[in-house]
Symmetry: C2
Subunit: 171 residues, 2 copies
Amino acid sequence: MTADDKRSSTPPITRVEDVDLGVLDGTLSFFIRSLNLAVTRDLDARLDGMEVARGTGKITALFLIDRHPGIRPSVIAAASMKDRSAMARILDDMEKNGLIRREPDPEDGRVQALHLTEKGEKVSREVQAIVRQSRDFFHDISEEEYAQVIDLLRGLYWRIVKSHQAKGTRL
Amino acid sequence: MTADDKRSSTPPITRVEDVDLGVLDGTLSFFIRSLNLAVTRDLDARLDGMEVARGTGKITALFLIDRHPGIRPSVIAAASMKDRSAMARILDDMEKNGLIRREPDPEDGRVQALHLTEKGEKVSREVQAIVRQSRDFFHDISEEEYAQVIDLLRGLYWRIVKSHQAKGTRL
DNA sequence: AGAAATGATTGACACTATCCACCATATTTT
DNA sequence: AAAATATGGTGGATAGTGTCAATCATTTCT
């Protein structure tokens, strides 16, 4: 047992810098969840005033519809890791704001084909610029490191997206 | 311009696997925000039925109080990247559930010294075991890769935590 | 002593995630 | 072809979140 054994308690502290994260320090989920808050705050600030500000799903929906006109809500839901009902509400909002149109899919009567309105396309371009800018929230890490983390997280992302799809996980 | 130019649209798709993430594919925040959902869901499932299930801040608070008895709410708030008012509500909840005690700090009348109750200590141990287990949500990445991402994210985490502290960002 | 800063709490508001039930349409089974 | 099952989308209900502004007590600064 050493002085900084992982199980020993340390005396009352006053500053965050002195916090010992213990188990959390080796827990990826902890950092993902914490950074999620920071990143979301940063993004919200950058998007302040725009129709897609506040809330996590709108940007993804906007971009995916832009890139894949006619895409269906459930696919966006899966890619956003949200459930279909959450997605419906986001699309409601975007429709109300005149960013998207919901059309009936000609091939399948249950399905909707989503399209951007002209306004939606304009907003999409603006937001893309902002999102690219948001890279400098991570100004203190190099291109190599940035690419490296993304590669890893991208792998996790696709594994999870696909396995949910496969297992029919009711999202 | 090649066939998969980043600006060109692809035809309507039906499966998530075919989605092209476009700008998002190079955006760290996108993966952090998506994985946050997946990770939180996984954690919630593992903690199902326990007093600290649902919600992001309770685990961190529990562990930090365990490790630093007498710690104050605002320090936990900073480490959790939440604002003090959000923290107060989490502590309310934990106090109601008999996990913590809020005592007046002997040194500073404005401050509270937080302590775990016996029940809190018991729960903390149980939850620590579960959190360690949660590593296998990322079963498909190696120890080296896991350690590598954590190292990077840890760096970002501390940079942000400290800079908020420094700038007096009103969280 | 008076002014300003800090720590904690509360109320309000909009947004989120989850679960369940529901309806319409497709697909599969018999 | 009829019945059963699966799929896509919607809507309600509930518990939780993040944010902002206001308040109050206490401490620190000058």
